[in-house]
């Protein structure tokens, strides 16, 4: 009994300590982000690794998600004789929810894990310590560019995912099944609001980008500097950031899309 309570207390204290450490890390990272923008080429390189290399998986998954939405949506809508509303269904579900969330999950597993592994391995091979020896701040030189690269890439990836998904829905709905093309686009345009739907989707993707990249760089920086530690940190990045995306998505949706218009 006593041992169990001690264990619980230790776990809670460790959790809170880690949360505080993470918050201080985030504050330090923001304060020392100057280098990431003054030497923008460092950030550019990270946009290449986080964003450009995630393009293929984002585009292909977006296309397939849109095509599935087209098939399933048509199947349900045609029972009510409103298959023209397919465009609305595909566009709204992608722009509001699936675009930011699925792109965020893919980004976490494709780019987040890579960032953690890279920083963790730098720590394990004492490259970060070596930088400190040369009076180079590893957070400013290594962590901040990766953070900003991820944060800048994520909204673009989510927008590409949504656009590709809508194209997939168009392919299945209009080209394959034969829903009227005019109704598909015009109903979509009438129902999708730029501020309420598209801008809110972009805000979501920015928040997810910050959350995923922050978790990734923090787990990497905080990793136990052994092979086992780096592997554990990579796993934690994917798990924690996926959970963070889904939980944040609920909170953001509750804030954005309740109360009518």
């Amino acid at each position: 009994m006593r041992a169990a309570l001690t264990h619980l207390g230790a776990a809670v204290t460790a959790g809170i300590w880690r949360l505080g450490y993470g918050a201080r890390f985030f504050a330090y990272l923001l304060v020392h982000s100057g280098t990431a923008f003054r030497r923008f080429r460092l950030t550019l390189r990270e946009i290449y690794f986080a964003g450009v290399l995630s393009l293929i998986i984002i585009l292909v998954s977006g296309l397939f998600v849109g095509m599935v939405l087209g098939l399933q949506g048509y199947d349900t809508l045609q029972r009510y004789g409103s298959s023209e509303a397919l465009g609305v269904l595909v566009a709204l579900s992608l722009v509001r929810e699936l675009g930011p969330v699925v792109a965020g999950l893919l980004f976490a597993s494709r780019a987040g894990s890579a960032i953690t592994a890279e920083i963790g391995l730098m720590k394990a091979t004492e490259q970060l310590s070596a930088m400190e020896m040369m009076a180079v701040d590893p957070i400013a030189r290594v962590v901040a560019p990766r953070f900003w690269g991820g944060v800048l890439s994520m909204p673009l990836l989510a927008a590409l995912f949504s656009a590709m998904g809508i194209f997939g829905g168009y392919l299945v709905g209009v080209v394959l099944i034969g829903v009227d093309e005019g109704a598909f686009w015009s109903q979509m345009q009438a129902a999708v609001d730029v501020r309420n739907d598209i801008l809110n989707g972009v805000i979501k993707s920015v928040v997810f980008g910050v959350a995923v990249t922050l978790i990734a760089v923090f787990e990497g920086y905080d990793a136990v500097p052994t092979a086992e530690g780096v592997s554990g940190a990579t796993t934690r990045t994917v798990v924690t950031s996926s959970l963070a995306i889904l939980a944040l998505d609920f909170v953001l949706t509750a804030l954005m899309f309740t109360g009518g218009n």
């Binding site: 949504s162 730029v194 598209i198 218009n261």
Partner: protein, 159 residues
Amino acid sequence: MNRSTIDLWVGVFVALGLGALLFLALKVGNLASFSTAETYRVDARFSNIGGLKVRAPVKSAGVVVGRVADIGFDNETYEAVAVLTIDSRYRFPRDTSAKILTSGLLGEQYIGLEAGAEARMLGDGERLRLTQSAVVLENLIGQFFTSKAAEGGAAKDGK
């Protein structure tokens, strides 16, 4: 990796991403319509607006000519006040009537304008005098029942 290759790919990526955003805003959303056009405001009073919402379309002859900008409640006449912004390209006579209609059986509600015959045109801030409220299904069913009951009574009396 070569520096300029990275630059090129990042450039392609950013251009694609911004293109996707532009596509979402222009082709999927409705940014292109009614965002820059000049509008004028008129208000209309209804005894019941049903499920009308802000940003619902205002149509005349089926063409979207404006949007509902604001919905309020007048505490003196106990009426709903709908403020409509209408595209300045479209002018309506002063005795234009406004009805709250529903597109399709289950569709969204909108305001339908029917032009009158007066020579003077509506200006900014004027009021539409002739309005017809939304059809409330419960009232309709109630009316149906009372009329049926009245018919039944009349039939009995006739015997």
